[in-house]
């Protein structure tokens, strides 16, 4: 049970695939338009159940309770060795020892 007042993320379907705009590429048309919002839980709720939240601007939204205390998982990615090759290339060209 996630307690009222917790900071959470919810998810909902805004438009089903049949409700979507015309003139969309097929692969977009066949999936729904989804929405993710964050806010404070307005009543105790289990993960996966329909939850009501108050967002930072004071709006109320409903949706499926996805996560509590959502955090950022983006990063710099796995090592890309080509970047070091670029460094070596431009530095040696500028120094005039491009034949090394």
């Amino acid at each position: 049970m996630i307690l009222k007042g917790s900071w959470v993320q919810i998810h909902k379907i805004v438009l089903t695939s049949t409700e979507r705009a015309t003139q969309l590429p097929e692969e977009t048309k066949k999936v729904p338009l989804e929405m993710w919002t964050k806010g404070f839980l307005l009543a105790d709720c289990d993960l996966g159940q329909t939850a009501k939240i108050e967002t930072l601007t004071g709006r109320h939204e409903t949706g499926t309770l996805l996560t509590v205390n959502p955090y950022y998982k983006h990063h710099y990615g796995e090592f890309v060795g080509e970047i070091l090759t670029i460094d070596k290339m431009v530095k040696s060209l500028l120094a005039g020892d491009s034949n090394e």
Binding site: P25, E34, M35, W36, R59, Y72, Y76, I86, V90, L94
Partner: protein, 472 residues
């Protein structure tokens, strides 16, 4: 009052929602069949230039340093013909509060929202503009909602957009994230109606006039540092506001013939509304998928009449490959010690090529940089591309196929700006503007000529091929 919230009902209320949320009655600027009074719209919905400057200075915006890239210039001269290789300068816009030139646009939108008494602002953007509006809203005590297109249908988010969500939330904004699709506009309209907040559109006269200070600063800074005017100013082009505002700002302070060049990254073949293609592009802005549609039909934006009309100002339009931009982004770090985001470096990559066409005493100014960080960094974007099955290798960037590979130049002489035929863009623009017209007035003709920066004869010749008549 019709309060139905279904897609069609909300879209049918579009004009009323827009009027209430931006405080501009666009209809008063309409003239005849297709024309509207652009300059009057800009004049009546912006502030005196000196006031804009002081508002921005008071809010952490503007007066960014112009930096000469001596090492990149020297590198370009290694491969330029003798006596060629213009001096390359960069306007370090990443040093605005919130990390990009977008702060200039956001400052004026938020100033206007506050002045008109709105309680909050909403912006539909996956890019730096969200962070800019959130940052400026914090300064003005306005609530802020940013609506992003962020995830594909398998829930994978573009790392650059997730980073932007983080930045917006750091500045206190509510971020509404959506999966891929143009119906973002429907959600945006619903939020405007529900909250009564101001539409901080990128395309309002406030949003575009805020960039004019950037154009004037480029001239002032270049004169101060070199005693000369820049010969060319190069601008990364997506929705067109950056180019429009910069060019207008330059014209405000000088009549010198300074060439305005637009540069976009070439994403030909990738569909901007495709769930499949969404995470196969490594640039979420500054690309041809925005640059060309918005140039040939500016009013596709989120306001009835866009203030961003780049074809009125552009002298030359070039494209670069993703691999070239990533290469130059790293070269900027390696040789100049300046670590910035790749999207802001599209025009830098183009400048490296174009500088080699120019005599060495001339000056080319790259008009912006943007902040970088987790998700947004070129290392992050290249790693993400590789994890999505995009091949990354050294070779000739001219062979790059967007969505399949990213080709880093195996030799710096392979970094080449590729020209887009602006007359073709002009013809497409006239076609788009006259889609449902059979006959045009004199005002319409003059409008088309101004819209496309071309002669009346050029316009008439295109109209003939479209079988559209006009009053003499």
């Amino acid at each position: 009052m019709n309060n139905s919230m279904d897609y069609q009902s909300v879209l049918s209320r579009r004009n009323t929602i827009m009027k209430n949320s931006i405080g501009i009655d666009y209809e008063v600027y309409e003239i005849d069949n297709i024309a509207f009074d652009y300059e009057r719209m800009m004049l009546e919905n912006s502030y005196p230039f000196e006031l804009v400057k002081s508002i921005q200075m008071d809010h952490g915006v503007g007066k960014t340093p112009l930096k000469e890239l001596k090492n990149l210039t020297a590198l370009a001269r290694k491969i330029a013909p003798i006596g060629y290789g213009a001096r390359i300068f960069i306007k370090d816009e990443a040093l605005n509060d919130s990390g990009s030139f977008k702060a200039r646009r956001a400052s004026m939108a938020c100033f206007q929202a506050k002045k008109l008494g709105y309680k909050g602002v909403i912006a539909a953007t996956s890019g730096n503009y969200g962070a800019a509006v959130a940052s400026q809203a914090a300064k003005y005590g306005l609530k802020c909602i940013v609506v992003q297109e962020c995830y594909d249908s398998s829930g994978i988010g573009q790392p650059e957009i997730i980073e932007k969500a983080r930045a917006c939330e750091a500045y206190g904004a509510e971020v509404v994230q959506l999966s891929v699709g143009p119906e973002l506009f429907y959600v945006f309209l619903k939020l405007l109606e529900e909250t009564g907040y101001f539409n901080a559109s990128l395309y309002s006269p406030y949003g575009v006039s805020g960039i004019e200070t950037l154009g004037s600063e480029i001239i002032e800074d270049t004169l101060k540092q070199t005693g000369k005017y820049p010969n060319k100013v190069i601008v990364t082009n997506a929705g067109g506001g950056n180019l429009t505002g910069t060019a207008r700002g330059i014209r405000k302070i000088t009549k010198q013939p300074i060439e305005i060049i637009g540069a976009s990254v070439n994403l030909t073949g990738l569909h901007m509304a495709s769930d499949h293609d969404f995470n196969r592009k490594s640039f979420t802005t500054g690309h041809t998928g925005f640059g060309i549609p918005y140039m040939t039909y500016p009013d596709r934006s989120d306001v009835p009449r866009s203030a961003a009309r780049p074809l009125r100002y552009i002298d030359r339009y070039v494209t670069m490959r993703q691999g070239e931009v990533f290469f130059m982004t790293e070269a900027l770090v390696a040789l100049e010690g300046i670590e910035r985001g790749p999207a802001g470096n599209i025009s830098l990559a183009a400048a490296f090529s174009i500088a080699q066409e120019m005599p060495s005493e001339q000056i080319i100014v790259v008009q912006e940089t943007e902040y970088t960080g987790a998700g947004k960094h070129h290392q992050a974007q290249l790693a993400f591309a590789r994890s999505n099955g995009i091949d990354i290798f050294f070779g000739n960037p001219a062979d790059e196929v967007p969505g399949k590979n990213i080709i880093l130049p195996s030799d710096i002489s392979l970094i080449k700006a590729v020209d887009i035929d602006l007359d073709k863009i002009r013809i497409s623009t006239i076609k788009n503007l006259c889609k449902s017209e059979k006959t045009l007035t004199v005002n319409d003709l003059v409008f088309l000529s101004e819209e496309t920066k071309s002669s009346l004869d050029f316009v008439k010749n295109v109209l003939k091929t479209l079988k559209i008549s006009w009053e003499e």
